[in-house]
């Protein structure tokens, strides 16, 4: 049987551990992994020079549907994800309406299945309407067809310590995890960019690092006290990394993610007031970038998560204070990680597989993803060419509906050549397969 979903023979790929192998994909799994396998009727993909990573898993994406389809839909967002090498994305709950009921999360989950470009795992809101006042029906969302396990008010912080405590306790019943957007609201009222030398000079209200670090410290202590699991979204400061390192050293169940842009960009980009660099949490200093890279290298930060935040043109083509926060990231994430972490010698490809597939799948409690390529593993694969000539990022060619990438015009290395979702090719030759 031919076609995108037929049997595939991937020839001569480099596995994350470094060894080369042929992989036969059949019926959604890697039926055989070995050397010099016979084609036997399979479609052959010459993967010489390519790395075969387990399909990437994004713990933090904004697909905007329902409600903000002018920025992105599940269809366009998952296409972007597949092109970025992702086989599963967690769709954050700050949609309109908010994903705080079984009904909304099931709708998102179903739309993802219908689109078919990657698995969409909905994230449920922690509080009703993200209002920070009352818990949402976390149990109902967990029991729904979407089987929600990750809960987050992302966009907003669960700032009430009592409510955060209750949420952490409550999800223990179904092995859930609370993913906190750490931002003390009272310290960040009207905040526009990192508080520091640049904000003082530009006259923009600052977003101090302590507003993130204080919440993380508090939440680590709470999670430890009640014996629950905490995940920290988009860590952005070196100080936060130190706190998480301390918490892990104590054996507490704390995990953390970092975005590609926080591994590469600093707040100096705000000069010139172009809101394409406006994001929450904000870009910080070179010292923070260094701390985050080190944290990802030594595993204090468990994974890279894109926080892909698409916005329509008019939300960014305006004065800074009026502009929306957020950057797209699905399509450039792996290339950015290669630039920031592999080319600097901080991670090898086995570690990239760990940080961008294995660990996020574990944290998301996502069965079927994050399994290293081997016989019997699900056929979720990303074939990546690390030696592709560095190309300037051109958002006009992106599948995402939105164009707000901070890397426009910047040459990043590498290219996702092919993506397989349970043995079906979603991306071939660097283009959408369907």
């Amino acid at each position: 049987m031919n076609g995108l979903a037929g049997t595939w023979l991937i020839r001569g790929a480099a596995l994350p551990g470094g060894q080369r192998a042929d992989l036969r994909l059949r019926d959604g799994v890697i039926a055989e992994a070995g050397a010099r396998l016979a084609a036997a009727g399979a479609q052959v993909l010459d993967a010489d020079g390519l790395i075969a990573l387990p399909g990437l898993v994004d713990l933090h994406t904004h697909l905007r549907e329902p409600g903000r389809e002018d920025a992105e839909t599940i269809e366009t967002g998952t296409r972007a994800a597949a092109l970025g090498g992702f086989t599963a994305v967690h769709a954050m709950a700050n949609t309109e309406p908010v994903a705080d009921t079984a009904g909304v999360v099931e709708q998102v989950w179903r739309l993802g299945r219908e689109a078919g470009h990657c698995d969409v795992q909905p994230v449920g809101a922690v509080t009703l309407g993200l209002g920070g006042q009352r818990l949402a029906e976390l149990g109902a969302m967990a029991d729904s067809a979407a089987r929600v396990r990750v809960f987050s008010d992302d966009g907003r912080c669960v700032s009430d310590p009592l409510l955060m405590r209750r949420a952490l306790e409550y999800v223990k019943a179904f092995d859930g995890v609370i993913a906190q957007h750490a931002q003390e609201p009272r310290l960040t009222e009207g905040a526009q960019m990192n508080e520091g030398e640049v904000s003082g000079r530009l006259g923009l209200t600052g977003w101090p690092a302590v507003a993130e670090e204080a919440i993380i410290a508090r939440d680590c202590l709470l999670a430890a006290h009640v014996g629950s699991a905490l995940h920290v979204c988009h860590v952005s400061t070196a100080g936060s990394v130190e706190i998480i390192r301390w918490a892990k050293a104590k054996g507490w169940r704390v995990t953390a993610e970092v975005t590609p842009h926080h591994l590469l960009l600093t707040d100096e980009l705000a000069e010139g007031y172009d809101p394409v660099y406006k994001v929450n949490p904000p870009l910080r200093t070179a010292a923070d970038v260094a701390g985050l890279r080190q944290g990802l290298a030594d595993g204090t930060i468990d994974c890279v998560a894109t926080d892909h935040a698409p916005h329509p043109v008019e939300a960014k083509d305006t004065e800074w204070a009026d502009a929306a926060f957020g950057m797209t990231g699905l399509e450039i994430a792996l290339r950015a990680v290669q630039q920031a972490m592999v080319q600097t010698g901080l991670l090898d490809w086995a570690a990239v597989a760990d940080r961008m597939s294995v660990r996020p799948a574990t944290i998301g409690r996502l069965g079927g993803h994050g399994v290293l390529p081997a016989t019997g593993a699900p056929a979720n694969l990303t074939l990546y060419d690390p030696a592709a000539a560095p190309e300037p990022v051109d958002p006009a060619t992106h599948a995402s509906r939105s164009r707000n990438t901070p890397f426009r015009g910047v040459a990043l290395p590498g290219q996702v050549v092919a993506t397989f979702l349970r043995g079906t090719a979603t991306v071939l030759d660097g283009k959408l397969a369907s």
């Binding site: 526009q192 960009l265 980009l269 015009g409 910047v410």
Partner: protein, 334 residues
């Protein structure tokens, strides 16, 4: 000089002196029977004021008219902007009307920078959020030069700026410009009203006004907004005034030659006592007159000559985009 005046910090010393010297010559016009020059005849200057400010707007209007430019005033109340039109659409409308220069006051820092990327005309920043108010700093420097009898720069002049530095675009512009002109600047404020990274600024900081007064040639008082009290920047107006207000007692602690400045509008009795504001040391009234001369100089230097240098398109967006790519590439390759 660049195409735009967006920030005092962007001026070189030569640029700044050119503006001040030009303003010197233009100030002489007030002695003439006909206070008008034909230089900008046929040019259109638009005052785009998103914040209420009669004083600054009138100053720019007078400056443009004395140079024979046509002036169009656009203020937000009752306009399409009030109905939700974006800054960009407003800008494109002005462009279509053929504005040669747009003087913009806006409550968002960086709005003039965005505007410069959207229109072909010259942009003059008349105050953007908390960022800068370059013509205010220029007229302040001009005033200091005249009062203290200086020519050239302000090298060695000791200027003390008192008040809400954190939120003040006047403070930012003045610190930058005074530093460029060689003055020694000291900021005095309660610690809550000073930016976190202020030690990277080219000035000294003090929390003690009385200690700094005898060492000041110029003391510049900034307006303090009452709203800052509710956000816990200081406990009460009374305490602020007692610790940081310039009353007659403090005025007496200044050296004989020292002058008192205020960008206006004043809160009499809060940051400055009425008797101080009205004393001969105070330059508050002449600052207003000097403002017209300085703004004439800025408009002349931006609009009075050829538009493009060597045919290169200096529109903000093209230039900034290139600079930004270079900055990001070096960041990304770190």
């Amino acid at each position: 000089m660049n195409r735009h005046l967006l920030s005092a910090a962007d001026l070189s010393r030569d640029d700044a002196l050119l503006i001040l010297d030009t303003a010197d010559e233009l100030a002489r016009m007030s002695d003439r029977p006909i206070k008008k020059l034909p230089t900008l005849r046929g040019r259109t200057v638009v005052n785009l004021f998103f914040e209420d400010s009669t004083r600054t707007r009138i100053s720019f209007e007078a400056a443009a008219k004395r140079l024979s430019a046509d002036v169009i005033n656009f203020s937000v109340k009752g306009s399409s902007v009030a109905k939700g039109e974006s800054l960009k659409d407003t800008a494109l409308t002005l462009e279509a009307m053929g504005a040669d220069a747009v003087v913009i006051r806006h409550d968002a820092s960086g709005a003039p920078h965005r505007l410069a990327g959207w229109i072909r005309g010259h942009v003059v920043n008349a105050g953007d959020g908390m960022h800068e108010h370059p013509t205010q700093a220029l007229l302040d420097a001009f005033t200091i030069r005249r009062r203290l009898g200086r020519a050239g720069g302000l090298d060695g002049v000791r200027v003390t700026i008192v008040g809400d530095v954190l939120h003040s675009r006047v403070a930012r512009s003045n610190v930058a410009l005074l530093n460029i002109l060689g003055a020694e600047v000291t900021l005095v404020a309660p610690p809550t009203l000073v930016p976190v990274a202020v030690d990277s600024w080219p000035c000294e900081i003090s929390y003690d006004l009385d200690a700094v007064l005898p060492k000041s040639d110029v003391i510049m008082m900034l307006r303090v907004q009452q709203e800052r009290m509710t956000a816990a920047y200081f406990p009460s107006v009374r305490e602020y005034s007692r610790r940081y207000g310039l009353d007659t007692g403090r005025m007496g602690m200044l050296p004989e030659h020292a002058i008192v400045m205020h960008p206006g509008p004043m809160n009499r009795g809060v940051e400055i006592a009425a008797e101080v504001a009205d004393s001969p040391r105070s330059t508050i009234v002449e600052q207003v007159a000097n403002g017209v001369s300085v703004r004439m100089a800025v408009l002349y230097l931006l609009l009075g000559g050829a538009d493009l240098l060597g045919g290169v398109d200096l529109r903000g967006s093209a230039r900034d985009a290139k600079a930004s790519t270079e900055a990001r590439e070096s960041m990304v390759n770190r």
